[in-house]
């Protein structure tokens, strides 16, 4: 296995033991980018110019005997939704082309404090609206496991970069599954923390009450490592939680003896579960049982409305969040407008893609006078019912398990003409966002054709420790996470 395909914790152990250098790691990753990026198209912006020197700086510290943290100098990627000072931040949209922000997102600040060595900004669905990374204004990203397939979305660039060895790990954001579904499609670990665990300051907002940043990594150990860095209260984000952050790597141990794992009766009925996904799920549940877990069937009557609720609330918030892209202060402004209204209309017409426009219209409609109560208010009520379902469930179980996605990675263009079909692929990931719960997708096997499948685990608020412990135990009993795509 090449260095660029190894987990960060393992690489860190080896560089501390002087078996390898950080520079070698960087060269391995940079080599991958050189060889495969033109085909994978994981990045919108590459900042690779300083990556080797960043790695060498870490090596120099090692050579001087100074302490070096586990991610210091390790080449990482950021979804191009995180604000980076002086580095173009597009959010996958034409409307932000050329925008070089004057400040850093809180998570970027935190990563920098731990020695961030940034490879670049990864591709995403425009404004994170999508499940395939096809709605990016900068072209689609390919799935390293099958180049004719999507890497999932919206954090598809981050997932593809890590899967292809073009980054050791990456950050993504998850509003309805945008970390977990791409992780599932690329056989990676994707962890969406509890809403409020990670600061949203400097994460370009799609749907503010649902957005949450998190890591996409090769294994749960690396996810715990990055979660340690990015978690914690941020005074600049009023929705970030004042909760102590444990050392998540402490939970990389133990088994699942006596852990009650809920299986939602309504899941599998509601969505069209691909037969191969169903089979993999059975096998995964068998593994959990073998590790000592006790499966418990639970009922969540409100879960069948999750897709409908999500596709009202997220567009409502988005329609407001995206109002600021009006051509007045930043981004390209449409030429030839004769008055203010036309300036707005033309700028937004030219600057936004079809999916973004669709969601702005959906949200604008749902918030309009006369419709607000029927859509927004009702959706909020059902959201509360769903939270109640989860409260009841987590009184009985420690974890809820299920498939991350009802289907494996689909072909490019396959669902582009049918937005509803695309929306339905989020059915299993959306509930965690609506309820603000932490959830993780871990490698859960492959289809016969070799397409990755994910196992999703959800836990109660701020119980990422349980996710990490269970994922670790599952990894010990399986080797899905050790497989790498055969790039060619």
């Amino acid at each position: 296995m090449e260095l660029c395909e190894s987990p960060i914790r393992e690489l860190h152990r080896r560089r501390l033991a002087r078996e390898i250098s950080t520079a070698e790691i960087a060269r391995s990753v940079l080599g991958r980018i050189e060889r495969y990026e033109t085909r994978v198209r994981a990045y919108i912006t590459l900042t690779t110019g300083d990556v080797l020197s960043g790695a060498e700086a870490a090596d120099a510290k090692l050579a001087r005997g100074e302490p070096v943290g586990p991610i210091e100098g390790m080449p990482l990627a950021l979804k191009d939704i995180f604000i980076t000072a002086g580095i173009e931040t597009t959010c996958g949209s034409r409307i932000l082309k050329g925008f070089k922000p004057p400040y850093d997102a809180t998570v970027v600040e935190r990563l920098k404090a731990h020695g961030l060595n940034l490879l670049g900004k990864t591709n995403l669905d425009e404004f994170a609206m999508g499940s395939s990374t096809e709605s990016s204004a900068y072209g689609p990203t390919r799935n390293p496991w099958a180049f004719d397939r999507v890497p999932g979305g919206s954090s598809g660039g981050s997932a593809a970069a890590v899967a292809a060895g073009e980054a050791l790990a990456a950050l993504g954001t998850d509003t309805g599954g945008s970390i977990r579904q791409p992780a599932a499609f690329t056989s990676l670990v994707g962890l969406k923390p509890t809403y409020g665990r990670v600061s949203r300051y400097g994460m370009i907002a799609y749907a503010s009450s649902l957005d949450q940043g998190g890591p996409i990594t090769r294994d749960i150990g690396d996810a715990a490592l990055l979660l340690n860095v990015i978690s914690g209260h941020d005074p600049r984000d009023s929705t970030s939680a004042r909760r102590p952050v444990p050392d998540f790597t402490r939970y990389l141990q133990g088994d699942l003896q006596g852990v009650r794992v809920g299986l939602v009766r309504e899941i599998g009925q509601a969505g069209q579960l691909d037969p191969e996904v169903g089979l993999a799920l059975q096998a995964n549940l068998e593994t959990l049982r073998a590790l000592g877990a006790e499966p418990v069937e639970i009922s969540m009557p409100s879960i069948e409305y999750a897709v409908a609720v999500y596709y009202i609330l997220a567009p409502c918030e988005a329609s407001s969040n995206l109002g600021r892209y009006d051509g007045i202060r930043l981004g390209p402004r449409a030429a030839g407008a004769s008055d203010l209204r036309e300036l707005y209309r033309k700028t937004r017409q030219q600057g936004f893609g079809a999916e973004v426009k669709r969601r702005i219209m959906l949200g604008t409609f749902a918030l309009s006078a006369g419709y607000y109560d029927a859509y927004y208010v009702r959706a909020m009520k059902i959201r509360e019912l769903l939270r109640e379902d989860f409260r009841r469930a987590f009184a009985r179980v420690e974890l809820i398990a299920g498939p991350t996605s009802p289907i494996p990675a689909f072909r490019l263009g396959e669902k582009l003409d049918d937005p509803l079909q695309m929306y339905l692929t989020d059915a299993y990931t959306l509930p965690a966002n609506l309820a603000g719960l932490p959830a993780v997708s871990i490698p859960g096997g492959f289809t016969r054709a070799g397409l990755p499948l994910g196992l999703q685990l959800m836990a109660d608020h701020f119980r990422e420790d349980r996710l990490i412990q269970a994922a670790w135990a599952f990894e010990q009993a399986t080797d899905h996470h050790r497989r790498r795509p055969a790039l060619s």
Binding site: T89, P101, Y103, Y201, A205, S320, R324, D326, L330
Partner: protein, 476 residues
């Protein structure tokens, strides 16, 4: 047909905080364009608001002073619309869960007290402004210094019945805002401005007519004038059988008319919804009680005290308390030993007239209350006459120097020292034995001759009453 106006005011008052409502930028007035901005108030992608705690406390203070119920779970909401001075394309305001609800204030027009209901007081951020003077005369420039500055919007019930009541209500609100240090209330800088809603209905009817809203009235006079104009305009429309168009209007201060800005059809659908970037604003009852305990004496209570403790008339008390600085100046003048009625008189008549002429306020005065108290004490002791005091006051107002000094320099003091006068009297009598004889022979008119002589000798400063008294005694 006789019509009754139904008026409600929405008053926007800027809160006296050092920093903006959702970021740490200063609220300072008069900076270079966009000097007071940061990524948050510029509305850059990715930024989030953090509520200014001080702004919340100030709004609660105003809410308590207007007898409102303070919500323990109020919520911010987004008001969505596009305009270049609104960088996020939404204003963070409050909608269905405002901070303060269901209060009242008392106003008095022509001595008639009336209680006016307050529907709500909520917090919101101000917008920036467009500037039309720059390098390119055809261009509009955006200055976001004001964007994010904290405001309270105070919404009255439609219970005002005349332009005079509306003016009195706005004056009352201005007094409260300034008394409470909630805002600076500087009208010229737009610190306090009102939108006036008005409709007419046949007197006796309890149905509401179609209303218009006249926006951005930044003086008490404008509120009164704009409403008076609207009453006449609406009356004429109604009498001509034309329906009133529900619309937003603007006040033309030069032409003294209102004109249409946009009709209901063009009105925005603001698509309010709860601000997801801010949690519900949960308040502890203890905080509200602390703020209540710290409330200063309010105008109404002050007026009662002035009448009770100082024996002022209701009118004088009301005039004094209308402006916080004036009331405090009066209190301090009395505190320095001045006779309350004299002090009230000097402040409400002479001082008010001077300030009015100069468009100055108490804060701009060159002298403090102790000076006025000194002057009033000199009148009380008979050292200067009331007429002389006017001259002293003119100098005091102009220079701020001590009244005693002014009196000395201007040679104004009445000679009230009986011992000094006695000597003078003796001397003059000795010099004019003939006239003394005449007086004693019963020609008492000669007294005027002696007074004249002594006045000449003292430059007119002898206290006339004292002098007369002395002369009569010496001549007897």
């Amino acid at each position: 047909m006789e019509f009754e106006p139904v008026i409600g005011l929405e008053i926007h008052a800027q809160l006296a905080t050092r920093s903006k409502l959702f970021c740490a930028c200063p609220t300072e007035f008069g900076q270079a364009p966009n000097a007071n901005t940061c990524p948050v108030c510029l509305g850059l992608p990715g930024v989030l608001p953090v509520v200014n705690r001080r702004a919340v406390e100030l709004a609660i203070r105003l809410g308590l002073a207007t007898h409102c119920t303070i919500r323990l779970d109020s919520q911010f909401a987004r008001k969505n619309y596009f305009y270049p001075d609104l960088p996020k394309a939404y204003q963070i305001s409050q909608y269905d869960r405002p901070l303060c609800e269901r209060g009242w204030v008392e106003i008095a027009v022509a001595g008639e007290p009336r209680r006016i209901g307050i529907t709500r007081i909520h917090l919101e951020e101000d917008a920036g402004k467009l500037v039309h003077e720059g390098r390119d005369p055809t261009a509009s420039y955006v200055d976001l210094n004001r964007a994010g500055v904290p405001l309270v919007e105070i919404v009255s019930e439609p219970e005002l019945r005349s332009p005079e009541e509306a003016k009195a209500y706005m004056e009352k609100m201005h007094a409260l805002v300034t008394y409470l240090d909630v805002g600076r209330g500087d009208m010229e800088k737009g610190n306090l401005r009102a939108d006036a809603n008005i409709s007419l209905r046949p007197r006796g009817s309890d149905r509401l007519g179609t209303r218009t809203e006249t926006k951005n009235l930044n003086s008490f006079r404008f509120v009164q004038q704009a409403l008076a104009y609207e009453i006449e305009r609406q009356r004429a429309e109604l009498l001509a059988g034309r329906p009133i168009v529900q619309e937003t209007r603007l006040w033309d201060a030069l032409g003294k008319t209102t004109y249409s800005m946009r009709s209901k059809e063009e009105a925005h659908d603001y698509r309010y919804f709860p601000e997801p970037d801010l949690a519900v604003l949960r308040l502890e009852p203890a905080l509200i009680e602390r703020i209540r305990a710290e409330l200063p004496e309010l105008p109404d209570a002050k007026a009662v005290r002035f009448q009770r403790d100082y024996g002022l008339s209701a009118y004088d008390a009301a005039v004094l308390v209308a402006d916080r600085a004036t009331a405090e100046f009066f209190d301090a003048t009395v505190g320095h030993g001045a006779d309350p009625k004299r002090a009230a008189n000097w402040i409400t008549v002479e001082l008010a007239a001077r300030c009015n002429e100069d468009r100055a306020s108490i804060a701009d005065l060159r002298f403090g209350p102790e000076r006025l108290a000194e002057m009033i004490a000199m009148i009380g002791r008979g050292e200067i006459s009331s007429r002389q005091a006017k001259t002293v006051f003119d100098h005091l107002y102009a220079t701020g120097r001590a009244p005693a000094e002014i009196v000395r320099e201007q040679g104004l003091s009445q000679l009230s020292d009986a011992a000094a006068l006695e000597g003078l009297v003796a001397k003059v009598l000795a010099e004019h034995p003939g006239q003394v004889e005449q007086y004693r022979a019963g020609k008492t008119k000669v007294l005027g001759f002696f007074v004249g002589q002594i006045m000449k000798a003292t430059g007119g400063q002898a206290n006339p009453a004292l002098l007369n008294d002395l002369l009569r005694r010496k001549l007897a």
